[in-house]
Point group: C2
Chain length 206, copies 2
């Protein structure tokens, strides 16, 4: 088997650069194949030699990313640790996930941002549902939950993804470890106690 033709590699790189550049300017839906090929200085027909359409282009980048993320969970589920150690078990996994976000920040910042793809956002959120379920699944009796567990999963998956999106959009000022700690602490303790402000708030009477 032979290596990929150099022309293909060059063309795909030019498309990638042009596409990402456009994505930082305008909505994915507003980007045309023409836009991409003109900016990339290639013939429009050449685009169709490699991709079915712009959706297929996006899909290929997205799939690359998901393989990375899923590999992390595949390697860490069913660890069968002590039941009460949410932080001790989930924090290292979260750090590993955030490292991928950090590595792939260029793409993820765009695709999760205001010009991004809602479907990717939803798939990413489902990933964090899986992250949660991988821990909860075996350990707690779901009928004992005060609120429907789906609401709790919606709450946490959106919270996590929201913080990460903000972090990416503001140039990853914190380390993956810092963000992971903030997330796990807030999940466990709630906003005020995690932030060290519990003292000035009363425990409410319930």
């Amino acid at each position: 088997m032979s290596k990929t033709d150099r022309r293909i590699i060059r063309t795909k790189n030019e498309i990638k650069q042009a596409f990402f550049s456009l994505l930082s300017e305008k909505n994915f839906e507003a980007i045309t194949v023409r836009d991409i090929t003109e900016l990339a200085n290639i013939n429009r027909g050449t685009f169709y030699l490699h991709y079915v359409d712009k959706y297929n282009l996006l899909e290929q980048y997205e799939n690359e990313i998901f393989e990375k993320f899923n590999a992390i969970l595949d390697a860490t589920t069913n660890l069968d640790l002590d039941i009460n150690q949410f932080k001790q078990e989930r924090l290292p996994v979260m750090v590993r996930i955030l490292q991928v976000f950090y590595e792939e920040a260029d793409f993820l910042k765009l695709i999760l941002g205001p010009n991004g793809d809602p479907y990717f956002h939803e798939k990413m959120r489902q990933f964090f549902v899986r992250y949660f379920n991988a821990y909860l699944g075996n350990r707690t009796d779901k009928s004992k939950w005060r609120f429907p567990i789906e609401l709790t999963l919606a709450y946490n998956s959106n919270a996590i993804l929201g913080v990460i999106t903000y972090w990416l959009q503001h140039d990853t000022q914190q380390s993956p470890e810092e963000i992971a700690t903030m997330l796990i602490e807030t999940i466990l303790k709630g906003t005020f106690e995690a932030s060290g402000l519990r003292s000035i708030f009363e425990k409410d009477s319930e």
Copy 2:
């Protein structure tokens, strides 16, 4: 001044019905003006008599909604209540907000859903940032927070909007009061304690 011409009212209603119907089937970007006018049984030219384009159409519905939401916060900020009563002060406001979601569920379900508008989602999220800030603004010294307050705002605004979106998408099985309680409790106590499962989890050592 005279009443609005009946023909205008009828036409706008037909457009609205057709548009919402299409939005439940496919992505906003995939919907064409043709689609709308054919389903509405009106001439395509008639559409342009009332709206600039499909974005303008969407914008008008969105603006109607935001007026309702903003009116709630405008009426409830600066209440100058006791500093430690997050739940007592914010819960009733949240209930009022959720009642609007409930009333406008038909539209909000679609526009916040997978075929919806990411920009609307973002504006809605900003609304919840405002909801939070209206309480925090005057009451806490932001330099005392363990994590950047922006991360905490991102966490909570996304969590709230995520739960509401799930709730709408699954036909509002719970009452606005139930959802509001779940949200406020989880913000205050964290996922496990709010759900009544704290007992089986150790307080972690920090």
